[in-house]
């Protein structure tokens, strides 16, 4: 829970910590002062370096980095002033993540391979959709040495301009997605550059990128990431011939291990195809022949609109940052323009409640004022955020997808109306595919967890989706389930959450955090599917029963005929007509 909050509040939380430090310098002890200043410096420098709105350290990253600095210097604190403090230096975000690669999903070689493919594919899909292009993606994994692989991902997206390219691939936390509230696969701008960095750390080789925009020449780059400065180092920059009209190809060499199966790249891409019926995927694994997933639909998902943050979804630290950075010159303007769902009336109410003047300049609202404002926002009645920013997969598309991949005997999909957790709109979709020979009937159901169309591969049991599936009473729908376990049935369950900010339990995006609002929505969606499934199963049972009855009748009618013949001395012909009449009578009664 707290972890998730950290990830959601992003730089806000980090910032809060930093400001706390700064403001507490007055009271802190001698050594504490220097440390907190240093930390603040680090953060500021980092944010200075990042151009535009890209801010400083990543949530937990920044915080942890700060902590590490403190830890290193702990001995110095005890000997305050007597001995020269141990060497203190800045830590760059890249450096921090290089040492804490597990936070990004590079804990082991096989996971590293998956994460690399995943980040590249996510980026490609986001790029294509933003450009309004039906994505066609090639994934190629080559085995170079025993533990050395080359991952190549090519898309038909709009391409990346020559100027942007080094930054996108060679700088952590550079991205377009972190600071806007908009449903997209990537959230933080860590992904692909982290993958590149991992490759660079393990093999020393740069990331190779070829990209071509429409009617422009293709460029080929080899990019290294300077972990000290979080800046890209370009080792090669050349114009090349590429016979496609637009697209991007990324090539990363890394230390990894390939294992086939459901939890590997194979399973991941399979699920990507399932979750994105509009995508065509060509996959060439290191072992075995190529796999193609053709698109089941030519409909691009509706474009997700960007929204402003909802006041209730903003935490104090973030509020303070927004106050500082806003271009609006009074609090009233700040509230009505920087947030969604704040009308003049609501702004007045909030300011009244806080006892602040509408004319007050946001820049002069110091910490205490911000806190009163924050509390007042929590008290105020504010309409839920707009939900047109969400782009569900859609019931039809889900059904198409499930049917084309599983060929089930019964499938059902449900898209719930949008809902809100902590000021963030979200929407749950659930789908079931039942029977049809693709599944085993004495194993737990297959569970596909999707967040903004991205399959979640690890930490199944820690995930809110799994918990919700387990807590749903499947027995009501004639699906066997033992207590505290997934139901056992020849069935696949798919749950998709679409949100402007998906609450993951960690940066590696493996499991959904259990917000009660989200869990409730998931359960409602599952129950809706379950009811339909129950009806289907019941109908199936009824038909089977009817057939059994028919067979049963067939079994015993001749004996009634024989007995009547023996007692009454009927002719064979008379017996046959009696038997057939009897059959008619019973068949008729069966229907009633």
């Amino acid at each position: 829970m707290t972890k998730a909050r950290g990830s959601r509040t992003g730089s806000g939380a980090a910032q809060t910590g930093l400001f706390d430090d700064v403001s507490s310098t007055k009271t802190s002890r001698k050594t504490g002062k220097t440390i907190s200043r240093k930390t603040a410096n680090t953060a500021r420098k980092a944010s200075d370096k990042a151009p535009g709105p890209v801010a400083g350290p990543k949530p937990s990253g920044g915080k942890t980095a700060g902590l590490q600095v403190k830890k290193k210097n702990r001995p110095a604190r005890f000997t305050a002033g007597k001995r020269k403090p141990a060497k203190q230096r800045e830590i760059s975000v890249s450096e921090f993540f290089a040492k804490n690669r597990h936070l990004l999903g590079f804990d082991n070689p096989s996971k590293a391979l998956l994460t690399t493919v995943k980040e590249a594919v996510d980026n490609s899909l986001d790029a294509c959709e933003e450009g309004g292009i039906l994505p066609e993606i090639h994934v190629h994994i080559e085995s170079l040495k025993e533990d050395r692989y080359r991952v190549t991902v090519q898309d038909n997206g709009p391409g990346i301009s020559r100027k942007e390219m080094p930054r996108v691939f060679g700088s952590l936390l550079y991205g377009s997605k972190f600071h806007r509230l908009c449903q997209s696969r990537g959230q933080q701008g860590i992904g692909i550059s982290a993958a590149g960095m991992y490759g660079q750390i393990t093999t020393g080789k740069p990331v190779h990128v070829v990209s071509k925009e429409k009617r422009k020449p293709a460029h080929r780059f080899a990019i290294l990431l300077d972990t000290n400065t979080n800046l890209p180092l370009i080792t090669k920059d050349e114009e090349v011939e590429w016979d496609i009209s637009h697209g991007t190809m990324v090539e990363i060499e890394l230390e990894a291990s390939y294992k086939g199966g459901r939890h590997s790249v194979d399973g991941y891409l399979w699920q990507v195809a399932l979750a994105n019926p509009h995508v065509t995927l060509h996959y060439a694994p290191p072992k075995g022949g190529p796999v193609n997933y053709d698109r089941a639909s030519r409909k691009l998902p509706a474009e997700a609109k960007e929204i402003k943050p909802h006041p209730k979804g903003v935490e104090l630290g973030q509020l303070m940052k927004m106050l500082k950075e806003t271009k609006y010159r009074n609090l009233h303007g700040f509230l009505t323009h920087e947030f969604s769902r704040v009308s003049n009336k609501v702004a007045d109410e909030v300011l009244d409640g806080a006892g602040l003047k509408a004319q007050m300049s946001p820049g002069r609202a110091h910490r205490d004022a911000a806190e009163v404002l924050y509390r007042s926002i929590q008290q105020a009645k504010i309409m839920n955020p707009p939900t047109n920013c969400l782009s569900p997969i859609g019931e039809d598309q889900l059904l198409k997808s499930l049917k084309s991949r599983h060929e089930p005997e019964f499938a059902i999909a449900v898209t719930r109306p949008p809902s809100v957790y902590r000021g963030n709109p979200f929407l749950i979709e659930a789908a079931l595919a039942y029977g049809g020979g693709a599944f085993s009937s004495d194993e737990p159901v297959k569970l596909y967890r999707l967040a903004n169309r991205v399959p979640l591969m690890y930490q199944k049991s820690a995930c809110c989706v799994t918990k919700s599936v387990i807590e749903t009473a499947w027995k009501n729908y004639h699906v066997p389930q033992s207590r505290g376990a997934l139901p056992v049935a020849p069935m696949a369950i798919l749950v998709h959450i679409a949100s402007v900010w998906v609450p993951f339990t960690s940066e590696s995006k493996e499991a959904l955090a259990s917000y009660p609002e989200i869990q409730k929505e998931i359960k409602l969606a599952l129950q809706e599917c379950g009811r339909k499934l129950g009806t289907y199963i019941r109908r199936g049972r009824r038909l089977a029963d009817a057939q059994k009855k028919k067979d049963y009748i067939e079994k015993y009618i001749p004996h009634i005929g024989i007995a009547l013949q023996e007692i009454l001395g009927l002719t064979d012909k008379k017996r046959a007509t009696t038997e057939s009449k009897l059959r008619d009578i019973l068949e008729r009664s069966r229907k009633m």
Binding site: H559, A563, K581
Partner: protein, 365 residues
């Protein structure tokens, strides 16, 4: 007379089957009406002295769910018709084996075939012997002051069987007792539950000292046994005393069945009951009076006693039996006939029975 009866039954079977056939050919669901065979459908006729069947019937309509039993019932009727027409008999077990030739309609276990047979029996309100079916079990043993006059099956001549002349053995009650005649000067009939107690009384010629007829039931009395005692008691007008274990099974399943009949074969109780029977022992009071060694009542015993207090029309009619059952439940113990051996092996002959028989008015009804 017998042959007329036979034709009569064959005719009734044919009529029943005929009505089924006509209904089917008219496109209607055939039905058969059976009397309900349970204690719920009997009333205790104190004046007549037995459980009389009430009018309640269950209608078995041919539906998907009943098609199997319906077929089996009809086939059983066909078998019965064949038996009567060829003047043959089949034991219940044999009838079960015959069904094995019925393909899918065969019975899995004998109790299934017995139930269907009893249904047919009740349907026509006849004795199963009249349908050509005979029971497996023997009727019971007799020893004492009695001459049974039977007919020699090979010669057709009358045969005098003196029940005093079996030494340490006994005369076996045949399956059919209707043709028997009796000669006796005995003062009473003593009906005994266990073969062991019967053996003891025969060995020491108790029938000689007490001038009585001894009958061993060997558990719940068979129909033949009940009918034998009934005819003997009716014809010779002698009292019947019943001596069974002191437990709810002895009271209800054995004594009550002997005296007033059962719920299961209620349509036959009129013939298969012994209304003049009186309960000699062992009563709950005996357990105290004779300081008998006891065993605790089992759960089934308690349940049986409570059921009887609630549902058995016979118990509901007789206060003394209600008191006896309540007393037994309260004591929580039961005692077997053989428990009297505590006071010496022949205590039962020398003390218990003579003392009891002096006070027949104190016997339970």
């Amino acid at each position: 007379m017998a042959s007329k009866k036979k034709i009569n039954i064959v005719e009734r079977i044919r009529r029943e089957a005929g009505s089924v056939e006509t209904r089917v050919n008219r496109g209607r669901k055939p039905t058969m009406k059976f009397p309900v065979r349970s204690l719920q459908n009997v009333s205790y006729q104190a004046r007549k002295g037995y459980f009389e069947i009430m009018g309640r019937t269950k209608e078995r309509t041919l539906t998907v769910n009943t098609v199997k039993t319906f077929a089996q019932t009809l086939r059983m009727m066909a078998l019965s018709k064949e038996l009567i027409e060829t003047d043959d008999i089949a034991t219940k077990r044999e009838a079960y084996y015959v069904s094995k030739n019925w393909g899918e309609a065969r019975f899995k276990e004998q109790p299934e075939s017995d139930t269907v047979m009893e249904d047919v029996e009740a349907l026509f309100r006849v004795n199963r012997e009249q349908l050509g079916f005979i029971p497996e079990e023997k009727g019971g043993d007799v020893a004492g002051q009695l001459v049974v006059i039977d007919i020699d099956p090979s010669t057709g001549k009358k045969l005098r069987i003196d029940c005093t002349k079996f030494g340490s053995g006994a005369y076996s009650i045949p399956i059919s007792v209707e043709q028997l005649e009796f000669e006796t000067k005995a003062k009473f009939i003593l009906v005994i539950e266990t073969a062991g107690m019967f053996q003891r009384l025969v060995k020491h010629s108790y029938w000689k000292t007490a001038n009585c007829v001894l009958v061993s039931m060997g558990g719940v009395p068979t129909r033949a046994c009940r009918r034998f005692i009934r005819r003997l008691a009716d014809i010779k007008k002698i009292p019947v005393y019943v001596f069974v274990d002191g437990d709810p099974y002895g009271f209800m399943n054995i004594y009550r069945t002997l005296k007033v009949g059962s719920g299961n074969a209620a349509h036959l109780n009129e013939f298969f009951c012994v209304p003049q029977a009186r309960f000699l022992g062992i009563t709950p009071k005996d357990i105290d009076d004779y300081e008998l060694p006891t065993h605790p009542l089992k759960d089934v015993d308690i349940k049986r006693a409570k059921d009887a207090l609630k549902n058995d029309p016979f118990v509901l009619h007789h206060k003394p039996w209600q008191q006896a059952l309540k007393q037994m439940i309260k004591m929580g113990v039961r005692a077997e006939q053989q428990a009297l051996a505590k006071h010496g092996l022949n205590y039962v002959i020398d003390e218990y029975l003579p003392q009891k028989i002096k006070k027949t008015s104190q016997f339970l009804p």
